[in-house]
């Protein structure tokens, strides 16, 4: 890889780039976006929400085991970001990845089957909730160790550049990952070798039960990029259009100039860290969660689209009905599926 002597001016700036501080409203952004795209974004957010609500239900019934980390509240981040990608691009995520997988177009039934440990699951029932993979869609997991996917994503970006494939890699992780070594080592390598990767830090405010202010000495998390002379931005992660526009710029830069970027998406998790954890308790109050729900990304976006007349109340009901059917079909598919064949226990350990 060439070593860059002259980083871009954006990378030199210690000011956050992008639209985090923009005065544009969601209505402004919606006005300049294709209505078909707007409807698609809303449908995807609704699909993720209904899928996750159903996942919570199945977990409570004991049909989903292990750890199960839900994406409710954060839908705008994944939906906005992934809507900008081409089919050949790569996505790597943490263990809170059901939503990203759905948005990328993995089959909802196969995702649900994976959550339920069925042989028809995307990972043949061997991965589970935290390890969803679909190579054909560039969806490269589902990784369970905090920050573990960040060097991997950097490697995908390296391979794209090495093979001159012009693919971009999106790497999603929670805000708690910015304190771990793999994050820092990866950002340094990506900036040093100019790799086409966009790091998206989903700042949902809590690493399990520890608020970001008690975990990071720097509250403006995108500022971590400054240490690596990397472009950075923060964005309202509850605004799907702000998210989409910023990531679109970042992806274009990555694809065109092999320039990596760190984006901090400020969002909020409405559920507990995982299904085994409380929604509120010692670490946050019920009142705080309720207050945050006033900024529900789906309600906000629905209201924007209704204000602009892109959709009406009936359209929303229709969309909701559609995604509920997709989720019911996914559950039915999973229910019909068999458990993995015991003969599969020791396959896929090594390949020939």
């Amino acid at each position: 890889m060439e070593h860059s002597d002259t980083a871009t001016s954006a990378a030199h700036s210690t000011e956050a780039q992008g639209n985090g501080a923009s005065t544009l409203t969601q209505v402004d952004r919606a006005r300049r976006t294709d209505p078909a795209v707007l409807k698609d974004l809303l449908e995807k957010m609704l699909l993720v929400r209904r899928f996750e609500e159903k996942s919570a239900e199945l977990y409570t019934l004991g049909k989903i085991g292990g750890f199960c980390h839900l994406y409710i509240g954060q839908e705008a981040v994944g939906v906005g970001a992934i809507s900008t990608l081409s089919p050949d691009d790569y996505i790597l995520c943490s263990y809170r990845e059901h939503g990203h997988a759905l948005v990328r177009g993995l089959d909802p039934g196969e995702i649900m089957a994976e959550l339920c440990g069925k042989k028809s699951g995307v990972s043949k029932g061997k991965g589970g909730s935290m390890h969803l993979f679909d190579k054909t869609k560039g969806f490269m997991g589902g990784h369970g160790i905090v920050g573990g996917q960040i060097p991997l994503a950097t490697g995908f970006a390296f391979a794209s550049k090495y093979l001159k494939q012009h693919a971009v890699t999106l790497c999603f992780f929670g805000e708690a990952a910015v304190n771990i070594g793999s994050f820092h080592e990866s950002l340094n390598l990506a900036a040093l070798w100019k790799l086409p990767v966009v790091y998206i830090c989903e700042n949902n405010r809590f690493g399990m039960g520890t608020p970001v202010e008690r975990a990071s000495s720097l509250y403006d998390l995108s500022g971590k990029a400054c240490a690596y002379n990397m472009a950075r931005a923060y964005v309202d992660g509850m605004d799907v259009l702000a998210m989409r526009e910023l990531v679109m710029e970042a992806v274009e830069r990555a694809r065109g100039d092999n320039a990596p970027m760190l984006i901090e998406a400020r969002t909020y998790r409405f559920m507990g860290h995982s299904m085994s954890d409380p929604v509120h308790g010692h670490y946050r109050t019920k009142a705080e969660v309720e207050e945050q729900k006033r900024h529900d990304p789906i309600k906000m976006f629905t209201s924007t689209l209704e204000t602009l007349g892109v959709i009406n109340h009936d359209d929303v009901a229709e969309l909701d009905k559609k995604v509920r059917e997709i989720v019911e079909d996914a559950v039915a598919f999973s229910e019909r599926s068999e458990e993995p064949d015991p003969m599969e226990i020791d396959t896929d350990v090594y390949t020939s």
Partner: protein, 327 residues
Amino acid sequence: MAMITYREALNQAMREEMHRDARVFLMGEEVGFYQGAYKVSKGLLDEFGPLRVLDTPITELGFTGLGVGAAMAGLRPIVEMMTFNFSILALDQIVNSAAKMLYMSGGQLPVPMVIRGPGGAGHQLAAQHSQALESWFCHVPGLKVVMPSTPADAKGLLKSAVRDNNTVVCIESEVLYGTRGEVPEGEHLVPLGLAEVKRSGRDATVIAHSKMVHVALDAATALAKEGIEIEVVDPRTLRPLDTETIFNSVRKTNRVVIVEEGWPYCGVGAQISDTIQLHTFDYLDAPILRVTGLDVPMPYAKNLEHMCLPDQARVIDAVHRVLYRTN
């Protein structure tokens, strides 16, 4: 056949494989401009350029994980650890990503990567730079582990490792880099999972890998003078283990000594010993003995370091004991 060093054999292996397959690249600390901390990558930067021979910052976790991602994306990285002592920093990516990716993706994503570099103890390098960590990697399903003891095996095993579609940990011996041996020119492959009998004998089997093969062979020469013929078996690949070659030797000699440089507790020899007793119990005429490094961090002082490492005298003593020929 050419007489070349272990270091040159490894260099040839990488050069040939990089010529054969454009997806193969080398990455690590000082592998390029510096020509390798131990000169194993000498000349490769000039020959293949900076896209394929990459000097990394000192960031084992980062570049190993980058290698795993690149392998998942279709490349075939050779990741050099300047020494395996530093691989401990990369263990999360080796164990949790490289070894498990194929399984947890339901067979979708192999990780064809080689992690290589020198391991082992010696040179008064003290506690943190002088240790044998192979049992750590052997413990993990999904990894293969090779440890060549000769220049020919170094070349043949590394070439096979690069072509393997799994992650292969290749632990070279720092103290063997300068040793010479005959190496077939051109295409020379040693299959993974195939042991070699380095010396044939009837009285006892000594199983040893890497540098300890030479300790065992020296012991064999000395023992031959007293009429004891030991068979020296070099597994070459520690995982998967060639149990057939080992069992055949045990059935012949009925007595076993296992030599390794690493610590005794949960060591490689413990696993080999278990495998032997399970499958060839009725052939054994004596308990299996192990000669290992001492169960302490490596001391600096020369005399203490010497005490830690298995040597010819300890191997000879163990052979005497399995033959019940103690004084």
